[in-house]
Amino acid sequence: MSDLRELYQQVILDHNKNPRNYREMPEAARKVEGYNPLCGDHYTVFVDLDADVIRDVSFTGSGCAISKASASVMSSTVKGKTTEEAQQLFEVFHRLVMGDQGGLSANELGRLAAFSGVSEFPARVKCATLAWHTLNTAIKGEEQVVTTE
């Protein structure tokens, strides 16, 4: 049960049940779909940019608790950040779910720290990073559909 509690930390369960920024943003500058064909997780990430500042970010879609909580935490973490800062956060997050805290304390990681348990579950890394990959694509203004395969 201890590993499970590591994975399904309270922050994750809370964000899964009450996802933040879970809404469409029809006026958003960028809109990208993220899809994991293996498990069917499917999200749309909306990004409203003011030059290189992420003025607002939201998402819709469905998937497992890890993917939904990750999208929710991501949306509240990157709001107000520059696109470069958001990309750096993605790198930090990606390393974290691969088991590398990068020397950062739980405090420095903030809410992202809730995902440290994912590294013990390699099959779930894709769930945790789906929304981030999608955001990254939206920021770069690349293709409109991302898959994690």
């Binding site: 590993d3 499970l4 069917g40 469905s62 998937g63 497992c64 608790a65 890890i66 099959a123 779930r124």
Partner: protein, 419 residues
């Protein structure tokens, strides 16, 4: 269940001793994450008995050689094993002749062979290919490819809320343009056993051929291709306790004779010159290249093993597990069954309110319980039931009621984590 005498009950118990049968499967004795393995993902692939593992080892240790080629001793031994396996498959399906059994990589390749070779010759613009809403992607995509290349139409037999095909609709969908009906014997996602004998008769009355995707049929049901009168029947070895990468296509001889080769290469020819190649006789015309010999002998060992337990005994055991597990799972609040057809193979698809199937899968895995979660390679079917994915427990010949109890306990833990 009928009332049996004490003697009768004892006889049944002796005929199917699951504890003894489990001894035949070495993997069932390992632990996973510190817990005894509870393997409930048999619709994805089954575990292998010693009879299969040892047969493959013996082939490599004592018999390995190429088939249909050498005059030397080992080549004769390997060829005899390979062709003996064809006879085993023929008997298992009750086919008329060995010529009607083509070894393939599995069900998928068998269906692709028919769609490409038979379909290429017989399906024309405006024709129709009829499949069902229950199909696995492997019985959808090959027909889509065929229809796209020919300008033919893919039509779909709908399914009701329980997971039964709507036979009235099926009848209406059979038209003079229907060249072939391709339908699963049993659904991998919902467990529905389709009334294929009746469906085959209806198709034949309409002048259409029928292919049965038997990937989920062969492990659970006695298959008699002559009684069914199907034109094609495809199945995979690994779903019936045999190796991966091997399967077989049964096809009526007159159909195979008229069909062009699927792939070119060695073994499928009689003579080759740069001007003209003469194809080999059946079934070799459809077996280009050195075949999967270890797979073929392993498949035969698996079919012999299953036959030794008795298909009726296996079916009775699995039906008992299906009904027992269904009753126990039904007591979990918020659990919904997807697929409640009248006749089902031992497959239970379900959702749990407020919990995504992948989270269910991860938590059960911590308990050593292997179930499948996802769309089960049947995305159109998932859309039909408006679920992105389901959890699926599928029972095999070695599973027990205690394992069903463990599944229920595991799911209660899932509910606890997410409460």
């Amino acid at each position: 269940m009928s009332v049996a005498t004490v003697n009768g009950e004892r006889q049944t118990a002796n005929a199917y001793d699951v504890a003894r049968i489990r001894e035949d499967f070495p993997i069932l004795h390992r632990t996973v994450r510190g817990k005894p393995l509870i393997y409930l993902d048999n619709a994805a692939t089954t575990q292998k008995p010693n009879a299969v593992i040892d047969r493959i080892v013996r082939y490599y240790r004592e018999e390995n050689s190429n088939v249909h080629r050498g005059v030397h001793y080992l080549s004769e031994v390997a060829t005899a094993a390979y062709e003996g396996a064809r006879t085993t498959v023929k008997r298992f399906l009750n086919a008329r002749d060995e010529k009607e059994i083509v070894f393939t990589r599995g069900t998928t390749e068998a269906i692709n062979l028919v769609a490409s070779s038979w379909g290429g010759n017989n399906v024309r613009e405006g024709d129709e290919v009829l499949i069902s809403a229950l199909e696995h992607h492997s019985n959808i995509v090959p027909w889509q490819l065929l229809c796209d290349s020919k300008g033919a139409k893919l039509r779909i037999i709908p399914v009701d809320d329980a997971g039964d095909l709507l036979l009235d609709e099926y009848e209406k969908l059979l038209t003079p343009r229907t060249r072939i009906v391709a339908v699963g014997h049993a659904s991998n996602a919902l467990g529905t056993i389709n009334p294929i004998k009746r469906m085959i008769a209806m198709a034949h009355a309409n002048g259409s051929l029928v292919l049965i995707d038997g990937a989920q049929g062969v492990p659970h049901l006695r298959v008699d291709v002559r009684d069914l009168d199907c034109d094609f029947y495809a199945f995979s070895g690994h779903k019936v306790y045999g190796p991966t990468g091997i399967g077989a296509l049964y096809a009526k001889q007159e159909l195979l004779e008229a069909m062009p080769p699927y792939q070119g290469g060695g073994d499928m020819i009689l003579s080759v010159s740069f001007e003209k190649t003469t194809y080999n006789a059946l079934p070799y015309k459809f077996e280009a290249g050195t075949p999967n010999i270890e797979g073929v002998v392993g498949l035969a060992a698996a079919l012999d093993y299953v036959a030794s337990l008795g298909l009726e005994n296996i079916a009775a055991h699995e039906q008992d597990l299906l009904h027992y597990a269904t009753a126990c799972l039904g007591e979990i609040d918020g659990l919904h069954f997807i697929g409640t057809a009248k006749e089902k193979a031992s497959v239970i698809s379900f959702t749990l309110e407020g919990v995504h199937p992948h989270d269910i899968g991860t938590i059960l895995d911590q308990e050593g319980i292997a179930v499948r979660t996802g769309h089960h390679c049947a995305q159109p079917l998932m859309m039909r039931y408006k679920v992105p994915a389901t959890g699926r427990a599928s029972f095999g010949l070695y599973n027990t009621r205690e394992e069903a109890d463990a599944l229920v306990a595991g799911l209660r833990k899932v509910v606890e984590v997410f409460s």
